[in-house]
Protein backbone atom coordinates (compact mmCIF):
# COMPACT_ATOMS: atom_id res chain seq x y z
CA UNK A 1 0.00 0.00 0.00
CA UNK A 2 1.36 3.43 -0.89
CA UNK A 3 1.64 6.09 1.75
CA UNK A 4 -1.18 7.91 0.01
CA UNK A 5 -3.41 4.84 0.35
CA UNK A 6 -2.39 4.27 3.95
CA UNK A 7 -3.21 7.86 4.81
CA UNK A 8 -6.51 7.72 2.95
CA UNK A 9 -7.43 4.62 4.95
CA UNK A 10 -6.42 6.28 8.19
CA UNK A 11 -8.41 9.39 7.28
CA UNK A 12 -11.45 7.26 6.56
CA UNK A 13 -11.14 5.49 9.87
CA UNK A 14 -10.73 8.69 11.86
CA UNK A 15 -13.63 10.42 10.14
CA UNK A 16 -15.97 7.41 10.35
CA UNK A 17 -15.32 6.93 14.03
CA UNK A 18 -15.72 10.63 14.72
CA UNK A 19 -12.19 10.82 16.11
CA UNK A 20 -11.60 13.88 13.93
CA UNK A 21 -14.14 16.23 12.40
CA UNK A 22 -12.03 17.19 9.42
CA UNK A 23 -8.90 16.20 7.53
CA UNK A 24 -6.94 19.02 5.94
CA UNK A 25 -4.85 17.60 3.13
CA UNK A 26 -3.89 17.94 -0.49
CA UNK A 27 -6.00 17.38 -3.56
CA UNK A 28 -5.38 17.52 -7.28
CA UNK A 29 -4.74 20.98 -8.66
CA UNK A 30 -5.33 22.83 -11.88
CA UNK A 31 -2.30 21.37 -13.59
CA UNK A 32 -0.49 18.05 -13.30
CA UNK A 33 2.03 19.08 -10.67
CA UNK A 34 -0.14 21.47 -8.68
CA UNK A 35 -1.66 20.39 -5.40
CA UNK A 36 -4.28 22.40 -3.57
CA UNK A 37 -5.44 22.38 0.04
CA UNK A 38 -8.64 20.39 0.51
CA UNK A 39 -10.88 19.94 3.52
CA UNK A 40 -12.45 16.52 3.96
CA UNK A 41 -15.29 16.07 6.43
CA UNK A 42 -16.93 12.93 5.08
CA UNK A 43 -15.31 9.47 5.07
CA UNK A 44 -16.72 9.04 1.56
CA UNK A 45 -14.44 11.78 0.23
CA UNK A 46 -11.07 10.50 1.40
CA UNK A 47 -10.32 9.28 -2.13
CA UNK A 48 -9.74 12.92 -3.06
CA UNK A 49 -6.66 13.05 -0.83
CA UNK A 50 -3.41 13.06 -2.75
CA UNK A 51 0.05 12.59 -1.33
CA UNK A 52 3.19 12.86 -3.41
CA UNK A 53 6.31 14.98 -3.69
CA UNK A 54 4.29 17.88 -5.16
CA UNK A 55 2.55 18.39 -1.83
CA UNK A 56 4.53 21.40 -0.69
CA UNK A 57 2.21 23.99 0.86
CA UNK A 58 2.45 24.12 4.64
CA UNK A 59 -1.18 23.59 5.69
CA UNK A 60 -0.76 24.41 9.39
CA UNK A 61 -2.04 27.97 8.97
CA UNK A 62 -5.57 26.72 8.28
CA UNK A 63 -5.74 25.33 11.80
CA UNK A 64 -5.95 28.80 13.28
CA UNK A 65 -8.81 29.86 10.98
CA UNK A 66 -11.35 31.67 13.10
CA UNK A 67 -13.59 29.24 14.95
CA UNK A 68 -12.20 26.00 13.51
CA UNK A 69 -10.91 24.59 16.79
CA UNK A 70 -13.26 26.38 19.16
CA UNK A 71 -15.59 23.36 19.46
CA UNK A 72 -12.64 21.42 20.94
CA UNK A 73 -13.07 18.70 18.32
CA UNK A 74 -9.99 17.20 16.70
CA UNK A 75 -8.74 18.08 13.25
CA UNK A 76 -6.25 16.05 11.22
CA UNK A 77 -3.71 17.69 8.96
CA UNK A 78 -1.04 16.60 6.49
CA UNK A 79 2.29 18.11 7.52
CA UNK A 80 5.92 18.05 6.55
CA UNK A 81 8.49 18.53 9.34
CA UNK A 82 8.30 22.32 8.92
CA UNK A 83 4.55 22.15 9.41
CA UNK A 84 4.99 20.05 12.54
CA UNK A 85 7.37 22.65 13.90
CA UNK A 86 4.74 25.27 13.13
CA UNK A 87 2.26 23.34 15.31
CA UNK A 88 4.76 23.49 18.15
CA UNK A 89 5.09 27.24 17.81
CA UNK A 90 1.34 27.81 17.53
CA UNK A 91 0.86 25.70 20.66
CA UNK A 92 3.70 27.48 22.50
CA UNK A 93 2.11 30.82 21.56
CA UNK A 94 -1.30 29.63 22.82
CA UNK A 95 -2.93 29.76 19.40
CA UNK A 96 -4.09 26.17 19.52
CA UNK A 97 -4.25 23.14 21.77
CA UNK A 98 -1.80 20.63 20.29
CA UNK A 99 -3.91 17.75 21.60
CA UNK A 100 -6.62 18.73 19.12
CA UNK A 101 -4.28 18.23 16.17
CA UNK A 102 -3.86 14.80 14.58
CA UNK A 103 -0.82 14.79 12.35
CA UNK A 104 -0.38 12.90 9.07
CA UNK A 105 3.38 13.42 8.88
CA UNK A 106 5.41 13.01 5.72
CA UNK A 107 8.69 14.13 4.26
CA UNK A 108 10.38 14.09 0.92
CA UNK A 109 14.08 13.26 0.67
CA UNK A 110 15.79 12.94 -2.68
CA UNK A 111 12.40 12.87 -4.40
CA UNK A 112 11.34 9.98 -2.22
CA UNK A 113 8.24 10.28 -0.13
CA UNK A 114 8.30 8.80 3.32
CA UNK A 115 5.77 8.67 6.11
CA UNK A 116 6.65 10.10 9.52
CA UNK A 117 5.48 7.96 12.40
CA UNK A 118 3.33 9.54 15.07
CA UNK A 119 -0.03 11.17 15.69
CA UNK A 120 0.51 14.02 18.12
CA UNK A 121 3.16 16.65 17.81
CA UNK A 122 5.37 15.44 20.65
CA UNK A 123 5.79 12.07 18.92
CA UNK A 124 7.76 13.78 16.16
CA UNK A 125 10.42 15.07 18.51
CA UNK A 126 13.13 12.93 16.91
CA UNK A 127 12.41 14.07 13.39
CA UNK A 128 12.34 17.66 14.52
CA UNK A 129 15.40 17.26 16.69
CA UNK A 130 17.37 16.07 13.71
CA UNK A 131 16.58 19.36 12.00
CA UNK A 132 18.40 21.10 14.77
CA UNK A 133 21.38 18.81 14.46
CA UNK A 134 21.38 18.78 10.72
CA UNK A 135 19.77 22.03 9.66
CA UNK A 136 18.99 21.61 5.97
CA UNK A 137 19.26 25.38 5.79
CA UNK A 138 18.40 27.52 2.88
CA UNK A 139 17.87 25.63 -0.35
CA UNK A 140 19.25 28.22 -2.74
CA UNK A 141 22.90 28.04 -1.68
CA UNK A 142 24.02 30.08 -4.66
CA UNK A 143 21.82 33.05 -3.76
CA UNK A 144 22.83 32.75 -0.13
CA UNK A 145 26.52 32.88 -0.97
CA UNK A 146 25.98 35.77 -3.32
CA UNK A 147 24.24 37.76 -0.59
CA UNK A 148 26.79 36.88 2.08
CA UNK A 149 29.61 38.15 -0.13
CA UNK A 150 27.96 41.52 -0.66
CA UNK A 151 28.96 44.67 1.12
CA UNK A 152 26.29 46.38 3.20
CA UNK A 153 25.71 48.87 0.39
CA UNK A 154 25.37 46.15 -2.19
CA UNK A 155 22.95 44.27 0.02
CA UNK A 156 20.89 47.38 0.51
CA UNK A 157 20.77 47.91 -3.23
CA UNK A 158 19.75 44.27 -3.71
CA UNK A 159 16.86 44.54 -1.30
CA UNK A 160 15.89 47.92 -2.63
CA UNK A 161 15.40 46.40 -6.05
CA UNK A 162 13.52 43.42 -4.63
CA UNK A 163 11.24 45.44 -2.37
CA UNK A 164 10.51 47.88 -5.18
CA UNK A 165 8.50 45.07 -6.73
CA UNK A 166 6.32 44.59 -3.65
CA UNK A 167 2.66 45.38 -4.31
CA UNK A 168 1.47 44.90 -0.73
CA UNK A 169 -0.91 42.12 -1.63
CA UNK A 170 0.02 40.56 1.71
CA UNK A 171 0.14 37.09 0.18
CA UNK A 172 3.26 36.48 2.31
CA UNK A 173 1.34 37.32 5.46
CA UNK A 174 -1.80 35.43 4.52
CA UNK A 175 0.17 32.33 3.52
CA UNK A 176 2.26 32.33 6.70
CA UNK A 177 1.10 30.10 9.56
CA UNK A 178 2.83 32.45 12.00
CA UNK A 179 0.93 35.53 10.77
CA UNK A 180 -2.22 34.72 12.70
CA UNK A 181 -2.93 38.16 14.16
CA UNK A 182 -6.59 39.06 13.78
CA UNK A 183 -5.50 42.60 13.13
CA UNK A 184 -2.06 43.02 11.63
CA UNK A 185 -0.03 46.05 12.67
CA UNK A 186 -0.24 47.38 9.10
CA UNK A 187 -4.02 47.38 9.37
CA UNK A 188 -4.03 49.56 12.47
CA UNK A 189 -4.45 53.23 11.78
CA UNK A 190 -4.60 54.81 15.22
CA UNK A 191 -1.74 55.49 15.06
CA UNK A 192 -0.71 54.56 11.55
CA UNK A 193 2.46 52.65 12.40
CA UNK A 194 3.24 51.56 8.88
CA UNK A 195 2.49 53.42 5.63
CA UNK A 196 -0.09 51.45 3.70
CA UNK A 197 1.19 52.68 0.34
CA UNK A 198 3.47 50.37 -1.60
CA UNK A 199 6.10 52.97 -2.34
CA UNK A 200 9.70 52.31 -1.39
CA UNK A 201 9.34 53.47 2.22
CA UNK A 202 6.09 51.59 2.75
CA UNK A 203 7.50 48.44 1.18
CA UNK A 204 10.64 48.56 3.30
CA UNK A 205 8.59 49.17 6.42
CA UNK A 206 6.30 46.25 5.70
CA UNK A 207 8.94 43.70 4.76
CA UNK A 208 11.22 44.63 7.64
CA UNK A 209 8.40 44.62 10.16
CA UNK A 210 7.43 41.15 8.97
CA UNK A 211 11.01 39.89 9.11
CA UNK A 212 11.31 41.07 12.71
CA UNK A 213 8.00 39.58 13.70
CA UNK A 214 9.13 36.23 12.32
CA UNK A 215 12.55 36.24 13.92
CA UNK A 216 12.86 33.14 16.06
CA UNK A 217 9.44 31.98 14.87
CA UNK A 218 9.90 31.13 11.22
CA UNK A 219 10.09 27.43 10.31
CA UNK A 220 11.29 28.20 6.78
CA UNK A 221 8.46 26.33 5.13
CA UNK A 222 8.65 28.68 2.16
CA UNK A 223 4.93 29.47 2.00
CA UNK A 224 5.67 33.21 1.75
CA UNK A 225 8.26 32.75 -0.94
CA UNK A 226 5.99 30.63 -3.09
CA UNK A 227 2.96 32.87 -2.49
CA UNK A 228 4.75 36.08 -3.49
CA UNK A 229 3.40 36.99 -6.93
CA UNK A 230 6.35 39.26 -7.66
CA UNK A 231 9.07 36.77 -6.76
CA UNK A 232 10.72 38.52 -3.83
CA UNK A 233 13.04 35.96 -2.17
CA UNK A 234 11.30 36.41 1.18
CA UNK A 235 12.60 33.17 2.59
CA UNK A 236 16.11 34.54 2.35
CA UNK A 237 15.31 37.31 4.86
CA UNK A 238 13.68 34.88 7.24
CA UNK A 239 16.56 32.46 6.92
CA UNK A 240 19.01 35.22 7.74
CA UNK A 241 16.99 36.09 10.84
CA UNK A 242 16.90 32.43 11.86
CA UNK A 243 20.68 32.26 11.58
CA UNK A 244 21.02 35.41 13.69
CA UNK A 245 18.67 34.05 16.34
CA UNK A 246 20.55 30.75 16.44
CA UNK A 247 23.83 32.59 16.94
CA UNK A 248 22.52 35.01 19.53
CA UNK A 249 20.22 32.76 21.55
CA UNK A 250 21.02 29.18 20.51
CA UNK A 251 17.38 28.91 19.46
CA UNK A 252 15.80 26.92 16.65
CA UNK A 253 12.09 27.62 16.29
CA UNK A 254 9.43 24.99 16.83
CA UNK A 255 11.41 22.31 18.66
CA UNK A 256 8.67 21.60 21.19
CA UNK A 257 5.24 22.82 22.16
CA UNK A 258 6.59 24.15 25.45
CA UNK A 259 9.55 25.99 23.95
CA UNK A 260 9.43 29.60 25.05
CA UNK A 261 9.15 32.21 22.28
CA UNK A 262 12.72 33.41 22.06
CA UNK A 263 12.12 37.14 21.66
CA UNK A 264 9.32 37.17 24.19
CA UNK A 265 11.20 35.51 26.99
CA UNK A 266 14.26 36.30 29.04
CA UNK A 267 17.04 34.06 30.25
CA UNK A 268 19.77 35.04 32.64
CA UNK A 269 22.47 33.88 30.23
CA UNK A 270 21.07 35.74 27.22
CA UNK A 271 23.78 37.64 25.47
CA UNK A 272 23.38 41.29 26.29
CA UNK A 273 25.11 42.89 23.36
CA UNK A 274 21.99 44.86 22.50
CA UNK A 275 21.31 46.16 25.99
CA UNK A 276 23.23 49.32 26.79
Amino acid sequence: MSIEQQYQARAKELLSGGAVKMVIGYGKGTTGNRRRPIFISSPDDVGRLVLDDSCIINLSGYLVSEGLLSDEKRVAVFLRPEGIRAINILAAESQLDADQIVIFGFDVNDNELRALKGIHVEEFADVIGSIRENNPGFADKELLEKIEKMTAQERFAFWQEEFAKCIKCYACRQACPMCYCRRCIVDSNQPQWVNTSSHSLGNFEWNIVRAFHLSGRCVECGNCDRACPVNIPLRLINHKMAVEVLGAFDHVAGMSKTQEPVLASFKKDDSETFIL
Binding site: P37, K165, A171, R173, S198
Partner: protein, 337 residues
Amino acid sequence: MTKILLIDKLDNCVERWKAAGITVIGPVHRANISVYAAVEHASEFDFGLVLPDRSIKELFFPQTEPMLRYAIKKDTIDTIECMPPSGPRIIFGSRACDASGMAIDDPLFGWDYKDTYWFQRRNESVIVTIACIKADDFCMCTSLNMEPDSTKGSDVLLRPLENGKGWLVEELTDRGQEAFTQIAEFLQESADAPAQTAVVEKKFDLEASVAWLQKPENFDSRFWKEISMRCIGCASCTYLCPTCHCFDIQDEGDTYSGVRRKNWDSCSFALFTMHTSGHNPRSTQSARWRQRIMHKFNYFPGKFSVNSCSGCGRCSRQCPVDMGITETLQEISKLSL
Protein backbone atom coordinates in the same frame (compact mmCIF):
# COMPACT_ATOMS: atom_id res chain seq x y z
CA MET B 1 0.83 42.24 -50.11
CA THR B 2 0.54 43.65 -46.65
CA LYS B 3 2.57 45.84 -44.38
CA ILE B 4 5.06 44.12 -42.13
CA LEU B 5 7.54 45.17 -39.46
CA LEU B 6 10.70 43.09 -39.20
CA ILE B 7 12.18 42.43 -35.77
CA ASP B 8 15.52 43.60 -37.14
CA LYS B 9 14.02 47.03 -37.67
CA LEU B 10 12.48 47.34 -34.26
CA ASP B 11 15.47 49.05 -32.74
CA ASN B 12 15.25 51.73 -35.43
CA CYS B 13 11.61 52.20 -34.53
CA VAL B 14 12.38 52.48 -30.82
CA GLU B 15 15.02 55.11 -31.60
CA ARG B 16 12.69 57.01 -33.87
CA TRP B 17 9.90 57.05 -31.33
CA LYS B 18 12.22 58.03 -28.54
CA ALA B 19 13.65 60.83 -30.66
CA ALA B 20 10.07 62.08 -31.03
CA GLY B 21 9.78 62.25 -27.26
CA ILE B 22 7.77 59.08 -26.92
CA THR B 23 8.40 56.66 -24.06
CA VAL B 24 8.58 53.13 -25.41
CA ILE B 25 7.31 50.43 -23.09
CA GLY B 26 7.08 46.68 -23.50
CA PRO B 27 7.46 43.23 -21.96
CA VAL B 28 10.82 42.94 -20.21
CA HIS B 29 12.47 41.13 -17.33
CA ARG B 30 13.26 43.21 -14.27
CA ALA B 31 14.65 41.76 -11.03
CA ASN B 32 13.42 38.22 -11.57
CA ILE B 33 9.96 39.12 -12.80
CA SER B 34 8.45 40.02 -16.15
CA VAL B 35 6.68 43.36 -16.46
CA TYR B 36 5.75 46.03 -18.95
CA ALA B 37 8.42 48.68 -18.52
CA ALA B 38 10.17 51.42 -20.44
CA VAL B 39 13.12 50.38 -22.58
CA GLU B 40 16.13 52.03 -24.14
CA HIS B 41 16.64 49.39 -26.82
CA ALA B 42 14.51 46.82 -28.58
CA SER B 43 16.86 44.09 -27.40
CA GLU B 44 15.40 44.41 -23.89
CA PHE B 45 12.01 43.11 -25.02
CA ASP B 46 11.06 39.50 -24.49
CA PHE B 47 8.31 38.67 -26.96
CA GLY B 48 8.59 34.99 -26.12
CA LEU B 49 6.60 35.33 -22.91
CA VAL B 50 3.06 34.01 -22.92
CA LEU B 51 2.37 37.24 -21.07
CA PRO B 52 4.25 39.25 -18.45
CA ASP B 53 3.80 38.28 -14.79
CA ARG B 54 2.43 41.70 -14.03
CA SER B 55 -0.41 43.19 -16.02
CA ILE B 56 -0.53 46.32 -18.10
CA LYS B 57 -2.85 47.90 -15.51
CA GLU B 58 -0.07 49.52 -13.54
CA LEU B 59 0.83 51.70 -16.52
CA PHE B 60 -2.57 53.38 -16.17
CA PHE B 61 -3.39 52.78 -12.55
CA PRO B 62 -0.19 52.35 -10.55
CA GLN B 63 -0.10 50.51 -7.23
CA THR B 64 0.36 53.83 -5.47
CA GLU B 65 0.22 57.34 -6.86
CA PRO B 66 0.10 60.79 -5.35
CA MET B 67 -3.16 62.57 -6.20
CA LEU B 68 -2.90 65.73 -4.18
CA ARG B 69 -0.37 67.59 -2.11
CA TYR B 70 -1.59 69.71 0.71
CA ALA B 71 -0.11 72.54 2.67
CA ILE B 72 -2.01 73.75 5.70
CA LYS B 73 -1.46 77.41 6.49
CA LYS B 74 -2.87 79.73 9.08
CA ASP B 75 -5.88 80.96 7.12
CA THR B 76 -6.03 78.61 4.22
CA ILE B 77 -5.26 75.18 2.93
CA ASP B 78 -3.50 74.81 -0.41
CA THR B 79 -4.29 71.75 -2.47
CA ILE B 80 -1.95 71.04 -5.33
CA GLU B 81 -2.97 68.42 -7.86
CA CYS B 82 -0.25 65.92 -8.71
CA MET B 83 -0.90 64.77 -12.22
CA PRO B 84 0.92 61.77 -13.65
CA PRO B 85 4.12 62.50 -15.57
CA SER B 86 2.84 63.74 -18.89
CA GLY B 87 4.03 62.66 -22.32
CA PRO B 88 3.20 60.25 -25.11
CA ARG B 89 3.84 56.53 -24.65
CA ILE B 90 3.82 53.52 -26.90
CA ILE B 91 3.19 50.20 -25.23
CA PHE B 92 4.70 47.79 -27.70
CA GLY B 93 3.92 44.13 -27.30
CA SER B 94 0.86 44.13 -25.11
CA ARG B 95 -1.29 41.03 -25.13
CA ALA B 96 -4.89 41.15 -26.30
CA CYS B 97 -6.16 40.31 -22.81
CA ASP B 98 -4.22 43.16 -21.23
CA ALA B 99 -5.25 45.71 -23.86
CA SER B 100 -8.91 44.76 -23.64
CA GLY B 101 -8.68 44.93 -19.85
CA MET B 102 -8.00 48.66 -20.09
CA ALA B 103 -10.96 49.21 -22.42
CA ILE B 104 -13.13 47.26 -19.98
CA ASP B 105 -12.27 49.68 -17.17
CA ASP B 106 -12.75 52.87 -19.21
CA PRO B 107 -16.50 53.15 -18.51
CA LEU B 108 -15.95 52.54 -14.78
CA PHE B 109 -13.41 55.33 -14.50
CA GLY B 110 -15.63 57.53 -16.63
CA TRP B 111 -19.23 57.08 -15.51
CA ASP B 112 -20.52 60.54 -14.52
CA TYR B 113 -17.33 61.42 -12.72
CA LYS B 114 -14.17 61.14 -14.78
CA ASP B 115 -10.96 60.01 -13.13
CA THR B 116 -8.38 62.40 -14.51
CA TYR B 117 -5.45 60.22 -13.47
CA TRP B 118 -6.68 57.26 -15.46
CA PHE B 119 -7.74 59.22 -18.51
CA GLN B 120 -4.62 61.31 -18.80
CA ARG B 121 -2.61 58.12 -19.11
CA ARG B 122 -5.16 56.48 -21.40
CA ASN B 123 -5.13 59.52 -23.61
CA GLU B 124 -1.37 59.61 -23.93
CA SER B 125 -0.84 55.93 -24.67
CA VAL B 126 -0.81 53.93 -27.86
CA ILE B 127 -1.24 50.20 -27.30
CA VAL B 128 0.40 47.93 -29.84
CA THR B 129 -0.76 44.39 -29.23
CA ILE B 130 0.97 41.28 -30.50
CA ALA B 131 -1.37 38.36 -31.17
CA CYS B 132 -0.46 35.28 -29.17
CA ILE B 133 0.97 32.26 -30.90
CA LYS B 134 1.32 30.33 -27.68
CA ALA B 135 -0.75 29.98 -24.57
CA ASP B 136 -0.37 28.15 -21.28
CA ASP B 137 -2.68 26.07 -19.11
CA PHE B 138 -4.15 29.17 -17.48
CA CYS B 139 -5.00 31.31 -20.51
CA MET B 140 -8.77 31.59 -20.84
CA CYS B 141 -9.56 34.46 -23.22
CA THR B 142 -11.69 32.22 -25.43
CA SER B 143 -13.88 31.34 -22.46
CA LEU B 144 -14.68 35.05 -22.24
CA ASN B 145 -15.63 35.12 -25.92
CA MET B 146 -12.36 36.79 -26.81
CA GLU B 147 -9.47 35.57 -28.90
CA PRO B 148 -5.66 35.71 -28.72
CA ASP B 149 -5.88 38.29 -31.51
CA SER B 150 -8.81 40.33 -30.22
CA THR B 151 -8.48 44.02 -31.02
CA LYS B 152 -10.49 45.53 -28.17
CA GLY B 153 -8.47 48.25 -26.47
CA SER B 154 -5.61 48.05 -28.96
CA ASP B 155 -4.49 50.77 -31.35
CA VAL B 156 -2.40 48.47 -33.51
CA LEU B 157 -2.49 44.69 -33.83
CA LEU B 158 0.65 42.85 -34.88
CA ARG B 159 0.43 39.26 -36.07
CA PRO B 160 3.66 37.27 -35.78
CA LEU B 161 4.91 36.00 -39.13
CA GLU B 162 5.19 32.29 -39.65
CA ASN B 163 8.91 32.67 -40.35
CA GLY B 164 9.37 34.38 -36.99
CA LYS B 165 11.09 37.38 -38.51
CA GLY B 166 8.54 40.02 -37.71
CA TRP B 167 4.91 40.98 -37.62
CA LEU B 168 2.09 41.79 -39.92
CA VAL B 169 0.79 45.25 -39.10
CA GLU B 170 -2.91 46.11 -38.68
CA GLU B 171 -3.49 49.71 -37.68
CA LEU B 172 -6.77 49.90 -35.79
CA THR B 173 -7.17 53.49 -34.65
CA ASP B 174 -6.09 56.95 -35.74
CA ARG B 175 -3.56 57.18 -32.98
CA GLY B 176 -2.18 53.78 -33.89
CA GLN B 177 -1.85 54.90 -37.46
CA GLU B 178 -0.15 58.10 -36.37
CA ALA B 179 2.38 56.18 -34.30
CA PHE B 180 3.18 53.87 -37.19
CA THR B 181 3.39 56.71 -39.69
CA GLN B 182 6.39 57.90 -37.73
CA ILE B 183 8.17 54.64 -38.45
CA ALA B 184 6.79 54.17 -41.96
CA GLU B 185 10.26 53.97 -43.50
CA PHE B 186 11.04 50.87 -41.43
CA LEU B 187 7.94 49.02 -42.59
CA GLN B 188 7.80 47.07 -45.77
CA GLU B 189 5.40 45.30 -48.05
CA SER B 190 5.51 41.54 -47.93
CA ALA B 191 3.52 38.46 -48.78
CA ASP B 192 4.81 36.52 -45.77
CA ALA B 193 2.11 34.57 -44.03
CA PRO B 194 1.15 35.15 -40.40
CA ALA B 195 1.61 32.32 -37.93
CA GLN B 196 -1.33 30.42 -36.54
CA THR B 197 -2.68 32.15 -33.43
CA ALA B 198 -2.58 30.19 -30.21
CA VAL B 199 -5.30 27.66 -29.62
CA VAL B 200 -6.84 28.47 -26.27
CA GLU B 201 -9.18 25.81 -25.04
CA LYS B 202 -12.61 26.90 -23.80
CA LYS B 203 -12.59 26.19 -20.10
CA PHE B 204 -16.11 27.03 -18.92
CA ASP B 205 -19.53 27.93 -20.16
CA LEU B 206 -19.71 31.67 -19.62
CA GLU B 207 -23.38 32.09 -20.52
CA ALA B 208 -24.49 29.30 -18.19
CA SER B 209 -22.30 30.63 -15.39
CA VAL B 210 -23.63 34.15 -15.76
CA ALA B 211 -27.21 32.87 -15.78
CA TRP B 212 -26.52 31.02 -12.54
CA LEU B 213 -24.93 34.10 -10.96
CA GLN B 214 -27.93 36.22 -11.90
CA LYS B 215 -30.38 34.04 -10.02
CA PRO B 216 -30.94 35.80 -6.67
CA GLU B 217 -31.24 32.53 -4.74
CA ASN B 218 -27.70 31.54 -5.72
CA PHE B 219 -26.30 34.46 -3.76
CA ASP B 220 -26.85 32.37 -0.65
CA SER B 221 -25.72 29.09 -2.19
CA ARG B 222 -23.49 26.82 -0.12
CA PHE B 223 -21.25 26.75 -3.14
CA TRP B 224 -19.55 30.00 -2.14
CA LYS B 225 -18.38 28.61 1.15
CA GLU B 226 -17.14 25.37 -0.36
CA ILE B 227 -15.24 26.96 -3.24
CA SER B 228 -13.51 29.56 -1.10
CA MET B 229 -12.61 27.47 1.92
CA ARG B 230 -8.93 27.43 1.04
CA CYS B 231 -8.79 31.11 0.04
CA ILE B 232 -6.22 32.74 2.29
CA GLY B 233 -7.52 36.25 1.66
CA CYS B 234 -4.50 37.84 0.03
CA ALA B 235 -4.75 40.27 -2.86
CA SER B 236 -2.51 38.45 -5.31
CA CYS B 237 -5.36 37.75 -7.74
CA THR B 238 -6.85 41.22 -7.59
CA TYR B 239 -3.56 43.06 -7.86
CA LEU B 240 -2.37 41.05 -10.85
CA CYS B 241 -5.75 41.31 -12.53
CA PRO B 242 -5.80 43.80 -15.41
CA THR B 243 -9.41 44.79 -14.70
CA CYS B 244 -9.61 44.85 -10.89
CA HIS B 245 -9.82 48.53 -10.17
CA CYS B 246 -10.57 48.94 -6.47
CA PHE B 247 -8.53 51.44 -4.56
CA ASP B 248 -7.99 53.13 -1.25
CA ILE B 249 -7.30 56.78 -0.56
CA GLN B 250 -4.63 57.38 2.06
CA ASP B 251 -3.01 60.49 3.48
CA GLU B 252 0.65 60.57 4.34
CA GLY B 253 2.11 63.55 6.05
CA ASP B 254 1.63 65.67 9.10
CA THR B 255 -0.58 68.52 10.21
CA TYR B 256 1.18 70.97 7.93
CA SER B 257 1.95 69.22 4.66
CA GLY B 258 1.71 65.88 3.00
CA VAL B 259 0.30 63.83 0.19
CA ARG B 260 -3.04 62.20 -0.50
CA ARG B 261 -2.45 58.97 -2.42
CA LYS B 262 -4.52 56.51 -4.38
CA ASN B 263 -3.44 52.95 -3.60
CA TRP B 264 -4.57 49.60 -4.91
CA ASP B 265 -7.01 47.94 -2.56
CA SER B 266 -8.72 44.59 -2.70
CA CYS B 267 -12.13 43.11 -2.00
CA SER B 268 -10.23 40.11 -0.61
CA PHE B 269 -9.29 42.02 2.49
CA ALA B 270 -11.61 41.93 5.50
CA LEU B 271 -10.93 45.60 6.21
CA PHE B 272 -12.08 46.65 2.77
CA THR B 273 -15.72 47.03 3.76
CA MET B 274 -15.43 47.13 7.56
CA HIS B 275 -17.46 49.94 9.11
CA THR B 276 -15.97 51.95 11.93
CA SER B 277 -18.64 50.42 14.18
CA GLY B 278 -17.10 46.99 13.55
CA HIS B 279 -20.01 45.86 11.39
CA ASN B 280 -18.74 44.25 8.20
CA PRO B 281 -21.14 43.61 5.32
CA ARG B 282 -18.68 41.09 3.87
CA SER B 283 -17.39 39.53 7.01
CA THR B 284 -16.29 36.14 5.69
CA GLN B 285 -13.82 35.13 3.00
CA SER B 286 -16.60 33.36 1.12
CA ALA B 287 -18.63 36.58 1.02
CA ARG B 288 -15.59 38.36 -0.32
CA TRP B 289 -14.85 35.78 -3.02
CA ARG B 290 -18.54 35.83 -3.99
CA GLN B 291 -18.30 39.60 -4.31
CA ARG B 292 -15.32 39.30 -6.63
CA ILE B 293 -17.00 36.79 -8.94
CA MET B 294 -20.39 38.55 -8.81
CA HIS B 295 -18.76 41.88 -9.48
CA LYS B 296 -16.91 40.60 -12.52
CA PHE B 297 -19.68 38.58 -14.13
CA ASN B 298 -22.94 40.00 -12.83
CA TYR B 299 -22.73 43.52 -11.37
CA PHE B 300 -20.15 45.03 -13.73
CA PRO B 301 -21.81 43.74 -16.91
CA GLY B 302 -25.13 44.94 -15.49
CA LYS B 303 -23.72 48.46 -15.37
CA PHE B 304 -21.37 48.54 -18.32
CA SER B 305 -22.50 45.67 -20.56
CA VAL B 306 -19.13 43.94 -20.43
CA ASN B 307 -17.64 41.30 -18.13
CA SER B 308 -14.89 42.59 -15.90
CA CYS B 309 -12.50 39.83 -16.98
CA SER B 310 -10.37 39.62 -20.08
CA GLY B 311 -9.22 36.05 -19.64
CA CYS B 312 -5.53 36.57 -18.89
CA GLY B 313 -5.63 33.84 -16.20
CA ARG B 314 -3.18 35.57 -13.87
CA CYS B 315 -5.48 34.99 -10.89
CA SER B 316 -5.23 31.22 -11.22
CA ARG B 317 -1.64 31.22 -12.46
CA GLN B 318 -0.34 33.00 -9.39
CA CYS B 319 -2.71 31.85 -6.66
CA PRO B 320 -0.79 30.46 -3.68
CA VAL B 321 -3.58 27.92 -3.07
CA ASP B 322 -4.55 27.12 -6.65
CA MET B 323 -7.85 29.01 -6.81
CA GLY B 324 -9.09 31.40 -9.43
CA ILE B 325 -11.80 32.51 -11.78
CA THR B 326 -11.40 29.56 -14.14
CA GLU B 327 -12.00 26.93 -11.50
CA THR B 328 -14.87 28.90 -9.95
CA LEU B 329 -16.69 29.33 -13.24
CA GLN B 330 -15.99 25.72 -14.19
CA GLU B 331 -17.72 24.64 -11.01
CA ILE B 332 -20.57 27.06 -11.58
CA SER B 333 -20.94 25.77 -15.15
CA LYS B 334 -21.42 22.31 -13.65
CA LEU B 335 -23.95 23.58 -11.10
CA SER B 336 -26.03 25.23 -13.76
CA LEU B 337 -26.45 22.05 -15.83
